[in-house]
């Protein structure tokens, strides 16, 4: 077990004067799948970004712990795998180059076997040398998953994980989420019923509007 713990303390977010959510207090532990649910505009993606350290809350904080020790913001990037429709990859590079650059920038030595294994798992092995310009949106979504998993993160944040995926792609993703959840802390932000069925704890963001 990775023992990644996340604590949201009084997390409040405004965009301009518009309140998105306020006073979210919750603890998240490894080995569980948590869901952020709510209608459009309730702040699921915003909260996902706050938990990943990509956005600052107006009030409160998101604190990460590993083995009971607080994780520094500057070290967080190597412990998080993040998938989101807002995440855009480099179209001019091949899928394999995107993965390799992601690893090198993180300072991790690429493991060829692991890269091939993930490309095979996501049914992209034969197309790994194609530039992303030639990929469909569903295929790009699969590459995002490979990048999110390749460095073996302890926290996986999946914002609309099945968007653009066909049924086969969704099946692959659900299987991976279930197997990764044994070791990791997983957070899913989604409207999809099937995505949320995987979660054993759901945060309804409509409850944090007032």
């Amino acid at each position: 077990m990775s023992n990644h713990k996340l604590i949201l303390q009084d997390v409040t977010k405004f965009f301009g004067r518009r309140l998105i959510f306020q006073n979210i207090n919750k603890e998240f532990f490894s080995g569980n799948i948590y869901g952020f649910a709510g209608n459009n505009g309730t702040g699921k993606s915003t909260l996902a970004k706050i938990t990943a350290g990509l956005l600052s809350p107006n009030k409160g904080k998101a604190e990460h712990y590993k083995q009971q020790q607080p994780i520094d913001y500057n070290e967080l990037y190597n412990l998080i795998g993040f998938v989101s429709p807002e995440l855009i990859l480099y179209d001019e590079f091949t899928a394999e180059e995107n993965v390799l650059f992601a690893l090198q920038i993180r300072g991790i030595k690429p493991d060829g076997k692991k890269i091939d294994f993930l490309f095979e798992k996501f049914n992209l092995f034969g197309r790994r040398k194609d530039t992303l310009k030639k990929y469909s949106s569903g295929m790009k979504q699969r590459v995002k998953f490979i990048i999110a998993l390749i460095h073996n993160p302890t926290l996986l944040i999946l914002d609309e994980p099945t968007s653009n995926l066909d049924n086969k792609g969704k099946e692959i993703v659900y299987k991976i989420i279930e197997s990764e959840a044994k070791e990791k802390l997983i957070i899913i932000a989604s409207n999809e019923k099937n995505d949320l069925l995987l979660c054993n704890n759901i945060l309804q963001l409509e409850n944090y509007k007032q």
Partner: protein, 219 residues
């Protein structure tokens, strides 16, 4: 090492997309040609040629160096970078890329000037090259941090030269002075104060940039 990986990623990306190189090359060619046509057969003083040399460098830098952050912002790949490395690593990679670009750009400009401007006679080449090297670092550092600032703004194209002018002005003034000394054949010892100012400018800009970048990058 991670900063170098970002530089490598940007370099390969640049070779495939030609975001900055094309803009820089065209700008250098056009401005040098315009100066050549407007001067014609006239004899212009070496000082004026030296001044025009830095004018070309300043505006070329304005045309291409902002791409380092603007292209990431425009293509929407900023979020990916946020996820992959800490801010200081990102800045190091982007700074390396811009410095290499400035060296290439200025190398071409020096070559064109040597070939086409008879009045561009440098008596102390050693001092001139030290000036160019320190100047390149200064332009690289300043343009990178300004690119990071303006990449978040709406009117990026206008804002870049507007913000760069006051930041680069002290640097350009010292560079002009040192180019004049090189043309006159003054020694490095005689130019010690100006070289020290250049060095201090670079150190201050580099330190301020690393301190500022964390804040710019996070929000």
């Amino acid at each position: 090492m991670n900063g170098y990986s970002i530089f490598k990623k940007d370099w390969f990306s640049e070779l495939r997309t030609r975001y900055a190189i094309n803009a820089l090359a065209m700008f250098i060619l056009v401005t040098v040609s315009v100066i050549l046509f407007s001067v014609g057969e006239e004899e212009i003083s070496p000082y004026l040629t030296g001044g025009l040399f830095w004018v070309v460098i300043f505006f070329s830098a304005m045309s291409g160096l902002s791409r380092v952050f603007v292209s990431e912002e425009e293509r929407g790949t900023v979020l990916l970078l946020h996820l992959l490395a800490k801010p200081s690593t990102i800045f190091t990679g982007k700074l390396l890329f811009n410095i290499v670009l400035v060296f290439l750009m200025n190398g071409v400009i020096v070559l064109l000037y040597t070939l086409f401007f008879n009045s561009f006679v440098i008596l102390n080449t050693q001092l001139f090259f030290i000036t160019i090297i320190l100047g390149n670092f200064g332009i690289g550092i300043s343009s990178t941090i300004i690119a990071a600032i303006i990449s978040k703004a709406g009117a990026k194209g206008t804002l870049y030269p507007v913000l760069s002018f006051p930041v680069l002005l002290p640097l350009i003034l010292v560079l002009l002075e040192l180019t004049e000394y090189s043309i006159d054949g003054k020694t490095i010892t005689e130019s010690y104060v100006e070289l020290l100012i250049l060095l201090c400018y670079n150190v201050i800009m580099l330190t301020a940039s690393y301190l500022l970048f964390d804040i710019i990058w996070k929000d």
